[in-house]
Symmetry: C2
Subunit: 340 residues, 2 copies
């Protein structure tokens, strides 16, 4: 498999490191030879027609040297040159998420798919905004668009819906898909601290970002629900179609009252079919022990599929971090080419 990598931030770098580590394993287990020909950033990139020496690139990173000093660096390298050269079969798109207009990822993906190149991505923006359109281009060109990394990283939420419940009809999907908010709610419940204190602790522990608003207001979860609904339930909803309530107003008293009744307050994203429509919401909900996601605590994530003929199936876990997000990109690469 000849790969172009576009976007070289945290996950992109972790992906290159992972490839070095797992190349032999993937070749042996899947008979799949992963070769990276391009590593492209916003201001240029590296190209090697017979495959970049990834260990050399990581040496630059480890020594805090800019990869602009790499001998194969070219200032004008971009998606245009990748398309023109016509020598990759798969684009790994890992530029930063832009939920306003999806750019530059959206253009990268469109151009690749139109040129008969598979796309594997962890970039939520274009997928939230334009999945249907991109999928149509992919189908028309008989290539794959794999987005497993966009809805919980290592948690196989997209896979679950594509493969684990294949043949059945998904009636509803529920998820605890945001580790930061789940961590805060778990901490409030287990350690009896206020929202503000739990958030501040989560920030100190490196779990919540300095500006946590996308997480705590529920929009990260909502974005993932849009993607799950559109990819797995044939919907075509947008972020604005989802009723979103975050956890910023959650009071410790509410959580303590719930706990006394053996309930837990969780930030649940749910999408379900109602009268031929697909409806979705994100809000804090009290769930009981019989709920399949009741025991998804702290940074853990989970997703739950309600189906017509296979029953209810829940998938829980998957480590979080850039290495594990990179592992979910690797998973999708394997699934593009080699399926049992």
């Amino acid at each position: 498999m000849d790969i172009g990598l576009i976007g070289f931030g945290g996950v992109g770098q972790a992906f290159v490191k992972l490839l070095i580590e797992k190349k032999k394993y993937i070749l042996k287990k899947y008979n799949l030879d992963l070769k990276v020909k391009y590593i492209v950033k916003s201001d240029g990139g590296i190209y090697k027609a017979n495959g970049i020496d990834l260990e050399e690139v990581i040496e630059f990173i480890n020594k805090n040297k800019s990869i602009k000093e790499h001998i194969s660096w070219k200032n004008d390298l971009s998606i245009d040159e990748i398309i023109k050269n016509n020598d990759i079969d798969t684009l790994v798109e890992l530029t930063s998420t832009n939920i306003e207009n999806g750019e530059p990822g959206l253009t990268h993906m469109k151009r690749a798919l139109e040129s008969g190149i598979n796309v594997v991505t962890g970039n939520k923006g274009p997928i939230i905004l334009k999945y249907k359109e991109l999928k149509k281009i992919a189908d028309k060109n008989s290539v794959k668009l794999k987005v497993g990394c966009t809805t919980g990283g290592a948690l196989p939420s997209i896979n679950g819906g594509l493969y684990d419940v294949a043949g059945s009809e998904i009636q509803a999907i529920e998820g605890i898909l945001n580790g930061t908010t789940n961590y805060i709610l778990s901490k409030m419940s287990m350690e009896e601290v206020s929202y503000e204190e739990a958030l501040s602790q989560a920030q100190k522990d490196g779990i919540a970002e300095a500006n946590p608003s996308l997480d705590v207001l529920g929009y990260d979860t909502a974005s993932k629900m849009v993607i799950l609904a559109n990819v797995l339930m044939g919907a075509n909803i947008k972020l604005k179609d989802i009723e979103v309530q975050g956890i910023t107003e959650v009071k410790l008293e509410t959580i303590e009252k719930a706990r006394k009744e053996n309930k837990k307050l969780k930030l649940i994203g749910k999408v379900q079919r109602e009268d031929n429509m697909v409806k979705a919401y994100v809000r804090p909900i009290e769930i009981k022990e019989d709920h399949p996601l009741y025991f998804v605590d702290y940074k853990n994530k989970g997703v739950y599929f309600k189906t017509d003929i296979l029953g209810d199936i829940s998938i829980i876990g998957g480590a979080s971090g850039t290495r594990n997000a990179a592992a979910s990109i690797l998973r999708d690469l394997v699934l593009v080419k080699s399926l049992e």
Copy 2:
């Protein structure tokens, strides 16, 4: 997809009923037209070159009429004729499990795979005994051998290992894979009854069989662990390589003591890599709340994968019954042909 169905017991009949119900959905969602050309039993079968009218067959069943009275019934119909006619691409093998020599399923599968016909099966016997050999024949002939139904029916335990953790290395698999024993242990714990009473209740409720020995002695779980190890971890173990202990000796006192310590006794099947070997056991084990399968109670099932780069992923649920087992056959049919 042109299908030959061989074996027409509980799951076979449920499969035919399910096809009638889901044919349009599968055609629309996966662009997959499922046509059954053969329904073969041990003493003959039905063949229609342009597809059997399944509703008519189910009418025979519903009216308690033997399908031998069907106009297309032939006494000499067998795998030989299916192979000779060379007009199916997929064999659904659902004859009874025989764990002594795998027959007649083993021969059916071999002949189909050798003739370039995909095999989808819920028949554990040949898969426990000869998976490696059958898989080699499948690979050689560029066809698929799908066995998802053999290790927990609707629970996607095989899928989990093939797709959800693709690209990662599975270090260990643990499962609660037998609904009957889990039901008995849950009942003992929640209702404080002895093993004998819980078993007798389970038999009355139609959950345990009149002769429950394969379940309660742990061999059903052990069979599933053999299959998971061989299909997902590249092992080549046999039933005799597994240390098996069932639940017949479990005392109520043990369970009550465990409960007081917030533990639960579960019949766990585990397979793990140890020094380049794959080792497996089945035995009742006390697990704590932090174990991913702690909340798998009563008839529920679950499986848990420990991986190197995706973390720990558990899959829980899937309804049990012939209809749901048939749904897992349908899932594998979809996965044979149509993969995103």
